[in-house]
Amino acid sequence: MRHDDPRPPLSSSRPLLEIRDLNLDFGTPRGRIHALRNVSLDVPAGQVVGIVGESGSGKSTLAYTVMGLLPESADVKAGSILFEGKDLLKMPAPARRSLLGDRLSMIFQDPMTALNPVRTIESQMIDIQHHEQGSRSEKRTRALEMLHRVGIPDPQSRIGAYPHQFSGGMRQRVCIAMALLVKPALLVADEPTTALDATLEVQIIHLLKDLQKEIGCSILFVSHHLGAVAELCDRVAVMFAGEVVEEGAVRDIFHNPAHPYTRALLECDPGRIKKSTRTLPTIPGEVPSLLGSKEGCIFRTRCPQAFNRCLQENPVEYRIGVDHVARCHLLDEERLVSA
């Protein structure tokens, strides 16, 4: 197999964020929705980890769980989220809150709703530094530096403006400036480029990449856009219907996808299709309902390669490369055949 990948070796120290066997339900009038099932994921320090998946895959739920921003109907059934060695789920609420906007910060899909519309950028950017020492004018200076860094032209005069006075792309830049102002250890980015035009998406991805290198933080980058993930991330987790079906270094995932879903997803991306064709590849079927308990592999109803075992048994993680894992029985069968 391929072990000659140029990916930097994982540091032996503990990952910054370790999600272990996370199970999360939403209570709804129709019953319990198992939104996350046995999710395990590491975010090593200083790396960008992408979560890709389609709508309903649970990728945003996972991001919100890390931030502790879930609605009341959410119920964590099992698992742990270790951040810098401490379990966020067992932490008392005030301690967890004090991590937000300090060690952990977030940027959202819609930059308009993420900013307070009736306050100036200046006051919001000064407020967010409430964990930091220093006078108001020092904080303002830091805010100005950061706005300049994220590419807001003429920050001196723009800092007094209100969010609606910025365009969509500029607003997302302001959000990034606010999130990184506190020099977090982990930035959670939930679809930050989805609402933007393609040429602006390129700008934001490049900006995030540069800033990440500069500050040295980790990023948990949630997106449905494979191109953005391929460009920004070091590691990728592919989610389907509440499960992480494959995880590995970005090159492993994009060059040697092991799970049938990952393969199908990559095939569907229209950017891949070079020849003019009237029939584009699709993944037939619908995302399965997450109500009630499920036996077997969650992807089996849409999988072209499903066989008997997939109906009965939920696949465990099979290791393919040094740190490339996927949940698919085919991998086990292959191993049995070769052995």
């Binding site: 035009d197 393609a198 191109g227 460009e231 060059h255 584009l280």
Partner: protein
């Protein structure tokens, strides 16, 4: 060949403030020009794409064709008949022959109607009351590949892809000559996008209607359309056959757009072209070539002189507005360009 739809020198403007306020603030032109002087035609059975980013005016053109928006000047003719001036009842017979699909798959379905009534709404609007509604709904559902029992569902019980299929079914109800599809894949997952585009292509093959696709996503355009027009700030900046433009874009903006939707490959995406800044406000249009503020090839003349449309030497139907159009040497076809920077392939 006769044009099904012909748009000539279309101009659409929006008011930015009321006449009183304009007078009080001394604003001479309280308007923004959303569409300024656009001409194109669609032949029977042809597919044309209008491509541009938000604010380029592409959706405004669609809304003007269908009559939701008034033009300031210019003409829109359908099957040889001028329709821009028509209103209400006069326009209705033409609306029967074209159908528009809007961006939001679920939001464009009236929330309190069942799929069955949604699909048969066009019949009722056009007074075709005696049709067998149940049978028609069933026929349309079959056409768009949904099970017959979906007729009883409500829009909120549909997924985005299913809702989009219902929208396509409704557009097909009266067997139109032209379908206008505004961002047909917006808000859909990649796996579902393919389904929707395949469905549109299949239906076009079967029924032979013309399609006008409005999108920002060039990947949608490539497999669906015969010709495309790229818009920037309410103007066409490049027009030509889809194949030709993908192979050899001449305008730097087109080049950047093509590069912005790359193949998802960690080793090949290094060449996404980053444009400077953002689309300027249509209230303060740049002088000369309106793209010069973001263009990496911009020179002195670009900020002074508005570039006139130039036809390509190789293809008279391929035209563009640029002082320094990309030549083959500088603008490689997009795949080649990516191969040249691709890292070691692992296999």
């Amino acid at each position: 060949m006769s044009a099904l739809l012909r748009v000539e020198d279309l101009r659409v403007r929006f008011r930015t403030m009321g006449p009183l306020k304009a007078l009080a603030t001394g604003t001479k032109a309280p308007f923004i020009d959303a569409v300024c002087g656009v001409s194109f035609e669609i032949r029977k059975g042809e597919t044309l794409a209008l491509v541009g980013e938000s604010g380029s005016g592409k959706s405004t053109i669609a809304r003007t064709i269908i009559g939701l928006q008034r033009a300031v000047s210019g003409s829109i003719s359908f099957d040889g008949q001028e329709i821009e001036e028509l209103s209400g009842a006069e326009r209705k017979p033409y609306l029967r022959r074209m159908a528009m699909m809007f961006q939001d798959p679920i939001g464009s379905l009236s929330p309190r109607l069942t799929v069955r009534s949604l699909l048969t709404e066009p019949f009722r609007i056009h007074g075709l009351k005696r049709r067998d509604a149940g049978g028609e709904a069933e026929r349309l559902l079959r056409m768009v590949g949904l099970p017959a029992d979906f007729a009883r569902r409500y829009p909120h019980q549909l997924s985005g892809g299913q809702a989009r299929r219902v929208g396509i079914g409704r557009a097909l109800a009266l067997n139109p000559d032209l379908i206008i599809a505004d961002e047909p894949t917006a808000g859909l997952d990649v796996s579902v996008q393919g389904e929707v585009l395949n469905l549109l292509a299949r239906i076009q093959d079967e029924l032979g209607m013309a399609i006008l696709i409005i999108t920002h996503n060039l990947n949608v355009v490539r497999h669906m359309t015969d010709r495309m027009a790229i818009m920037y700030l309410g103007r066409f900046i490049e027009v030509g056959s889809t194949e030709r433009i993908f192979e050899h874009p001449r305008h730097p903006y087109t080049e950047a757009l093509l590069a912005a939707n790359p193949e998802p490959d960690p080793d090949a995406v290094l060449n996404r072209i980053e444009l400077k800044g953002e689309v300027p406000s249509p209230m303060s249009r740049p002088s000369g070539c309106e793209f010069h503020t973001r263009c990496r090839y911009s020179q002195d003349i670009c900020s002074r002189v508005f570039p006139e449309p130039t036809a390509s030497r190789e293809d008279a139907h391929h035209s563009f507005k640029c002082h320094f159009p990309l030549e083959r040497e500088t603008a490689m076809p997009i795949e080649q360009r990516r191969l040249s920077v691709a890292g070691p392939t692992l296999k």
